[in-house]
Point group: C2
Chain length 195, copies 2
């Protein structure tokens, strides 16, 4: 749903990603060939496969960069920062860097992901990898493994819900949507009758 949008380069790589999303949106993911995507940006199929291992990868190319950036930001957070605040702030910062000006493409990409089971599965795997990376980043800071995993899972939940609210809600920054969702989770849990 989220994870492949990030940082389109201006070169052939980024143009293939943009062309793929436009073509998938117009004709359906299943109906578009790699040859069509390549033709759309004036490169050969072979060039496409130098950049992406298979058709669906053109939708997930940003995932690694996004994940690495969140991990970097968690590692760079001031020592002693509580894990939840560090996680939410890192995600917000990454969103400002990676998703600014990408709302429409993010929404289109999301609709494509929802259209095919294989893409949804791939997205789940990417989110699981992001969760593991955030967990490891907190362990690296000296946070207990159990707490690290819990905060990572809750953080990815906030990220995912925030993404949906950003692409389908009123126009604003993705990072503001995340702040709202984090505040809502705080409200739901802190004011529950459960201790």
């Amino acid at each position: 749903m989220i994870i492949g949008m990030a940082r389109w380069e201006p070169g052939a790589h980024g143009r293939m990603m943009a062309a793929a999303i436009a073509l998938f949106t117009e004709y359906g993911y299943e109906n578009v060939t790699v040859a069509q995507i390549a033709a759309e940006v004036g490169v050969t199929e072979r060039t496409f496969f130098r950049h992406f291992t298979e058709k669906r990868e053109v939708l997930f190319d940003g995932a690694g960069g996004l994940q690495n950036r969140v991990v970097e930001l968690i590692a760079a957070a001031p020592p002693g920062g509580d894990p939840w605040t560090v996680t939410v702030d890192a995600m917000r910062e990454m969103c400002d860097e990676f998703f600014d000006g990408r709302r429409e493409q993010s929404r289109q990409r999301q609709r494509i992901i929802e259209s095919a089971n294989e893409l949804q599965e791939r997205e789940l795997l990417k989110l699981a990898a992001l969760t593991s990376a955030i967990t490891a980043a907190h362990v690296e800071r000296g946070c207990p493994a159990n707490t690290s995993e819990l905060v990572a899972r809750a953080g990815v939940a906030v990220f995912t819900v925030g993404f949906g609210r950003w692409i389908d809600g009123p126009v604003r920054q993705f990072s503001d949507a995340i702040a709202d969702v984090a505040a809502e989770l705080h409200g739901a849990i802190a004011h529950s009758t459960r201790p």
Copy 2:
């Protein structure tokens, strides 16, 4: 990791599930055939396939029942209960009903899931389905869709982390592990510097 353990019937169905876990644990998931599982409990391969569509399904058979029970419990919660408390309490109740006395098998099953990518993917899909079902159950109670999804995702995070703590931590009830993890999430979020 969690989701297929539940409610083994005493008949051939349950015996096939137990035999499969024992055989997978001893010889490895990839190396065990359906014929071996069937032979182990004295039925034919054909009988196996009357109960399970494919080999891996023997590990995920409980998922539907578990999900339905959580949904039932959320639906039956007192009106006006806050969504977070309702979610955690429903999961705890379900765990008492489904996982009591199943700690060792749950741990073995978890190790099998971790041994094969296709099983991990299947598990992610089952957890995604559980998340959707919990979301829908809260919407049905009149909770806004956004909050419902957020609480469902955070709830499944607590369930998943609680499962890991239950199978690998000191012996106790699964539902007590969930209560501890829910309290820890409360602590991490309510006492963070982030509002």
